[in-house]
Amino acid sequence: MSRGERLALIVIAAVILVLPLAANDYVLSLMVIGGIYAVLCTGLNLFMGQTGQISFGHNAFAGFGCYGSAILTVTYGWSPVFALLASVMAAVAAALLIGYPTLRLRGHYLAMATLALGLIMYELSVQLESLTAGFLGISGIPALGIGPWRLSGDVQYYYAIWAMVGLGVWIYGRIVDSRVGRALGAIAGDEHAARSLGIDVSRYKLLAFVISAAYASVAGSLLAHYVSYVSPEVIGLGMVTLLFTMLFVGGLGTTTGPITGAVLINILPALLTRFQDYRQLVYGAALLLVVMFAPRGLHSLGNLRSVFGGSTR
């Protein structure tokens, strides 16, 4: 992690810490959802940004979290924390099982395979009515908590979720700055060169996939417990568009990008309420503009010359 990114993280942490003093409940609730997506994007960033792979299917792993927590707590009366942990284990097992054959694919083929994964999860959430209640969804999901103690109110959720973001970013930073992180970077840079250096490319791709799936599942569980409701729409293709927009706008492959992207894109609809109907269009346009003019998202803004014909990297 660069010194600039460390500094940016400190600034973000300071703002997050004092924000509840000035913000109302509505802003805090937006920040809670933004934080949940920041967890998801941080994990996805490990797979896409750091390892240079592509996944259109992490909504499936978020689905494991959402539905795992919902079903285990509402139907079976589990404690939310245990439900969250069990959902993560299920997501990790599924990622191992699916990733092993899928990650042999590259580029468009990998993209299509992961897209199929997301679509299958969506279909399952619709079709397995006895478990998921289909389009009706599952409501009454209890708040997150340990034992008899439950999080209540936006301020408590806000600090709990952003503590999870902090933990997620810390783990991400530890991985990226380790030998494993450099191996992942080598895979992103040139797979053949990485193999020639003795790096077990398949193993590390699978590792990044599984870790990012765990992040997605945790985020899914947090979302279910915070909103106390889950339905198939939550984990549909819209989530994929949202994640991509957040990740690319924030800055793919950067540590702070998933946080800034998640918060900004989550707040944007609230700022543009008049254009609510055009939300997907705005996301699409934002994604297009970023990919064209600022491939490192908000990180590229320091180099505006790129917009006017200079190098973008």
Partner: protein
């Protein structure tokens, strides 16, 4: 007579169904430098990639007495073959040190910290400029420095055989000369070299033997002493 360090028998390579390298035989003796040259599209890089297990191939490849044809690329690297690919394959966002560290990846757990530190020192002794730029992003290095880094990184694996695909590509004549002086030094230190080169003259100076490839076939194998001048080279490149 000693046995070859590397011997490939009936080695052919494929891109999909296309046979890019027709069945060929090559061998490299320990401590030897061998050059494979030929025009564009002759199959030189494919030969390298087949030896490294980076393309689908058939045939037998024996390295240091063991058949490695069924081994994955990373296992071949761990067996002692290092590869400097065309285009260098360095990681621009990482520093010089981090790139070098990646070169020793296959040795972690097998080599001591002291041995890996010695490899760093060896790479810096060979290319002092890498030491000066050790904390610099690799992407900000010049082409020549990047090539030095690619070779230095390959040496971090402590290889017995170093495969170099077009090490002179895109470099200024003075830098090419510098790179080949270093390769000659490596050869003197006992590292076996197989080079693929379009610029034959500097490679012929350090190599004992040469293979000439045309249209995916090895069409000649000879001692470099038998290549007398530009006319011989032109004939070998173009045939006839």
């Amino acid at each position: 007579m000693s046995t070859p360090l590397l011997q490939a028998t009936d080695l052919s390579a494929f891109y999909g169904k296309v046979e890019a390298l027709k069945p060929c035989n090559i061998f490299i003796m320990p401590g030897e430098a061998v050059v494979a040259f030929g025009p564009n599209g002759a199959g030189k890089s494919t030969l390298m990639r087949a030896l490294m297990g980076l393309v689908a191939s058939r045939g037998r490849v024996v390295f240091d007495g063991a058949d490695i044809a069924a081994l994955s690329t990373q296992m071949r690297a761990r067996a002692g073959i290092a590869f400097v690919p065309e285009g260098r394959g360095i990681l621009g966002p990482l520093t010089v040190m981090e790139n070098l560290e990646l070169g020793a990846y296959g040795r972690y757990g097998r080599a001591s910290r002291g041995e890996i530190k010695a490899s760093f020192e060896k790479a810096f002794d060979l290319f002092p400029r890498l030491f000066e730029r050790r904390n610099q992003k690799a992407g900000s290095l010049s082409g020549g420095e990047q090539q030095m880094l690619a070779i230095g990184r390959a040496l971090m694996a402590n290889p017995r055989l170093l495969l170099l695909d077009e090490p002179s590509l895109g470099l200024a004549p003075r830098v090419i000369e510098e790179i080949f002086v270093k390769l000659a030094q490596l050869k003197r230190e006992g590292i076996t070299l197989l080079l693929v080169e379009q610029k034959a003259p500097p490679a012929l100076e350090i190599a004992e033997r040469a293979y000439v490839l045309r249209t995916g076939k090895i069409v000649a194998a000879m001692s470099t002493r038998d290549i007398e001048g530009p006319e011989t080279l032109a004939r070998l490149y173009l045939g006839g």
